[in-house]
């Protein structure tokens, strides 16, 4: 019933009878107030779309309890089977659909919404292929594992279908897998939701990162429509993470050498943070422990000598397994002042396809590149290439002096159309080559949600192109944006092939970290193909396990092979690796096989060395590697007396073991992670370590 002016007036007279004396005046005031009501009609499309989305969200979040009751790997198998069924269903529908007479070019030339739909269809096909590939590959891996002899100190029962083979000397590259658990695209969650607790309902806390402004949507209803268009495809998840086998324990006597490439990527941490900020635990395969550990900088000694990096080692007790030790290896790249860095020839390669049309993608991307542009010096050059339906040069190579031109071009970018990523990459590399700076930093910076679909070439061809350009001195940096449809696996692979690095940008603060504070590290390589090889002393080490770096393992012979690619170290970068070590007990009996005998020599028992550490790296403009070798002495330091570096790095690794549901997590607990981290915050100028503590608290709430 519509409220009359009379009822309001009567209420007022009840409160203050003296109003009655000035009835006319009061009535006029109330009337004016009622008439001045602003017209605020709600858009019907918005209303309907939001409802649909919320209800589907509800359908999605409901099984979470069920999910927790089941073992995650089992879920993967169910999820995989479900995905196959769903994809087959979609595939059948597509086959019988009424609109299939359209050609591909017809589809592309349609409106952007349809462009997106087409992208969805392609994606579904891709998922189908991936699932099938996964199944066959799994079988292959299982049979290969069955037929190989694996030395293993910790045999545990496995779930069927699990392909986690511990112990092969060279870890095989992972298998693509379509997982459960990628969250749907969030429309509104740019800041986090705090639980309603206690007596009052206090919605939305102010937990969001500082500097992050609440979302500004150009047209939310458009976004919602897009969401609905995608919804079906996303039911079985389109975020892709490659599943890597965790490194297992290896017997030092049988496998004394452990070889791997450094990895300076940090994307996994930001991605995990994104999941947690939306109140979900990340899918285990989205957790790459080395990227979590390397997100933080540690206080390692600065390089002083001829080499561009220095390193530190430390041995102490393993927090999650008392009887084990943990060996930390920390590398510190030489820091360089901005002024002393070589000039840059940068090509921003920006994905403006329809899927990027979201504030946390293109919106954030523009701001991120804006930050980077502000850092440019007059002798630096910037070009902008976009790709969507077609690739195009938006801004020819322009001096860093003309910041306004660069910023204006960035500002004009708009999203629409489907993605032709590979064409864009080709054009970007051409632009970089045409403006090549000898001795400079020539680099393509690709910003995308990683959804390459309509390109003329396959992923393999793309990788070949990137590898070829790397040899010509053009490097690649990849910045990942957005969610819901995020192709983590593809992006990491491309960055690795392109002598580059890969960061995930989830907010402006992260953009500032990667592109301003750590710009030198992100964009200037001081050492390339950095490899490590450890030779463990079997007299002191029974077995060992490298934590993380599963996709960075190299064969022992790759170490000295200068044609084998490995990770790059940027200016000021720190890289940390942790080995879990099972100390040797007593004298090793020689292992006797039919044709050979392995025996530990006397020298091994005589020395205090636990491991010999060997590095190889190349100068950025050289093709010949430089070796470094040093022996590390065994120590019995308690965790309490370990350095802040050690305690913090081990806390992060322990958290990673829990989140990735590692089978080696032993007694790892959120509580212990928090204790370790809180005791090792050090000088946390930027607040990253404190943020870590709150993320652990959040994950502990979700996970326990």
């Amino acid at each position: 019933m519509r409220m009359t002016i009379k009822s309001i007036l009567n209420e007022l007279y009840e409160i203050d009878p003296s109003f009655k004396d000035r009835e006319k005046e009061i009535e006029k005031t109330v009337k004016k107030l009622m008439e001045s009501k602003i017209d605020a009609p709600i858009d019907n499309n918005f209303k309907q779309s939001l409802k649909k989305r919320l209800l589907s969200e509800m359908g999605k979040t409901r099984p979470s309890l069920f999910k927790r009751l089941l073992k995650p790997r089992l879920i993967l198998s169910f999820g995989g089977a479900f995905a196959v069924l769903a994809v087959l269903l979609v595939f059948i529908l597509m086959q019988t659909g009424p609109q299939d007479t359209r050609t591909k070019s017809d589809l592309i030339s349609e409106t952007s919404t349809n462009g997106r739909m087409e992208k969805m269809e392609n994606k579904e096909m891709q998922s189908l292929e991936k699932v099938i590939i996964t199944e066959t590959e799994e079988k292959t891996v299982i049979s290969r594992l069955d037929s190989s002899t694996i030395s293993d100190t910790k045999s545990k029962p496995k779930l069927s279908g699990e392909t986690d083979g511990k112990g092969g000397y060279k870890d095989e590259p992972g298998k693509p897998d379509v997982l459960q658990g990628g969250d749907l695209e969030e429309l509104t969650l740019n800041y986090q939701t705090e639980a309603f607790e206690g007596s009052g309902y206090n919605p939305d806390g102010s937990l969001g990162s500082e500097g992050q402004t609440p979302p500004q949507y150009k047209d939310l209803s458009n976004l919602v429509d897009k969401y609905n268009a995608k919804k079906d495809a996303e039911k079985f998840n389109t975020e892709e993470y490659t599943k890597y086998r965790e490194n297992g324990f290896l017997k030092a006597i049988d496998n004394p050498l452990s070889t791997f490439s450094i990895d300076v990527d940090t994307a996994s941490y930001a991605n995990v943070r994104r999941f947690l900020s939306y109140g979900e635990l990340p899918p285990p395969d989205a957790v790459r422990i080395e990227e979590l550990v390397n997100y933080f900088t540690y206080d390692y000694p600065e390089p002083t000598g001829e080499h561009p990096f220095a390193f530190a080692t430390e041995i102490s007790a393993c927090p999650w397994e008392e009887s084990h030790k943990l060996l930390l290896i920390g590398l510190q790249g030489r820091k360089m002042e901005l002024a002393s860095l070589p000039p840059s020839n940068l090509v921003f390669l920006i994905d403006v396809s329809g899927s990027m049309d979201e504030p946390e993608k293109l919106g954030l991307l523009k701001k991120a590149f804006g930050l980077l542009t502000e850092q440019m010096r007059p002798n630096d050059r910037v070009a902008i290439v976009v790709y969507a339906g077609a690739a195009g040069l938006v801004l020819p190579s322009t001096s860093g002096e003309k910041k306004r031109d660069i910023l204006a071009s960035l500002d004009k970018l708009e999203a629409g159309g489907s993605t032709a990523g590979s064409e864009g990459i080709q054009l970007a590399y051409e632009t970089a080559a045409n403006n090549f700076l000898q001795g400079g930093n020539n680099r393509v910076i690709l910003a995308t949600d990683g959804d390459f679909n309509v390109g003329p070439s396959s992923e393999g061809e793309l990788v070949r192109l990137i590898e070829e350009k790397r040899k010509q001195g053009i490097y690649l940096t990849i910045l990942g944006f957005g969610m819901g449809n995020y192709k983590d696996s593809k992006m990491e692979q491309l960055a690795d092939k392109g002598n580059g690095n890969y960061a995930y940008i989830d907010n402006l603060k992260e953009a500032a970290k990667v592109l301003v504070k750590e710009m030198a590290g992100t964009l200037f390589t001081i050492a390339k193909d950095v490899k490590l090889q450890l030779e463990f002393n079997p007299a002191r080490v029974d077995s060992y396990r490298l934590i993380g770096y599963s996709n960075r393992m190299l064969a022992r012979e790759d170490f000295e092979d200068d044609t084998k690619d490995a990770g790059e170290l940027g200016a000021g970068h720190t890289v940390t690796a942790l080995y879990e070590i099972v100390p040797a007990k007593g004298y090793n009996q020689p292992t006797e096989l039919k044709y050979q005998t392995t025996k530990v020599n006397e020298q091994a028992y005589a020395t205090d060395d636990i491991v010999t550490l060997k590095f190889r790296y190349k100068k950025p403009d050289s093709d010949t590697s430089i070796p470094i070798e040093v022996a590390v002495r065994d120590e019995d330091t308690s965790l309490h007396s370990a350095s802040v570096n050690f305690r913090f790095a081990s806390a992060v690794a322990e958290w990673g073991l829990i989140l990735s549901q590692s089978e080696y997590k032993e007694n790892a607990s959120y509580r212990q992670v928090l204790e370790l981290a809180r005791s090792s915050l050090g000088y946390d100028e930027e607040g990253y370590r404190n943020e870590f503590v709150s993320l652990v608290e959040e994950s502990s709430r979700l996970g326990e």
Binding site: D16, F19, F46
Partner: protein
């Protein structure tokens, strides 16, 4: 306000209940947020967030602790406050009416003139009194609900509204110029 949703005494909302809640309150919540932001995008965004918040916390909803509309309104109200605080990094701004009129408030062009006129009046009121005007006059909520949304007694809310009227009555000569 219509109390169409009965959740008995059990905690949480089922899918059907949530759907009913959505249908019953979406218009009201949207316009409430719009009155405080005067910008369609922002209002749609914060409305989405309000209901997402409701959805995510539906199992925590306890009818013993408050009614559904009170709960949703409080979420919406706090989201608006957070929105402006985060944006302006100032604790003094609770909604669009607190922004000095000289600055661009990013309001929709259709209501720009009206907002400029209303601002003369509304910016003179403390945020709570503005909320009373919005909730009582524009949204026609009963004092019982308003009191719970604002965390005050009914009497206090009524008193507050009478003060608003006294204040605005005194400013009537100005209003007369503006609205006539």
């Amino acid at each position: 306000m219509q109390e169409t949703i009965s959740t008995d005494s059990k905690k949480g909302l089922t899918r059907e209940e949530f759907e009913h809640v959505y249908d019953a309150y979406i218009d009201k919540i949207y316009s409430f947020i719009y009155y405080k932001t005067c910008n369609r995008e922002t209002a749609e965004d914060l409305t989405s967030q309000t209901f997402l918040n409701v959805l995510q916390n539906r199992h925590r909803f306890d009818p013993a602790k408050g009614s559904i509309p009170v709960w949703i309104y409080r979420i919406a109200r706090n989201l608006v406050i957070d929105f402006y605080r985060k944006k302006r990094s100032s604790v003094d701004i609770g909604d669009v009416w607190d922004i000095p009129s000289t600055e661009d408030v990013a309001c929709d062009y259709q209501v720009k003139e009206q907002v400029a006129e209303l601002k003369v009046i509304l910016s003179k009121l403390p945020p709570e009194q503005r909320d009373i005007v919005i909730l009582r006059v524009w949204q026609e909520l009963p004092y019982r609900e308003i009191a719970r949304i604002m965390g005050k007694s009914e009497a206090a809310c009524k008193m507050m509204f009478s003060r608003v009227i006294t204040k605005l009555k005194d400013a009537l000569p100005v209003m007369a110029v503006l609205f006539m």
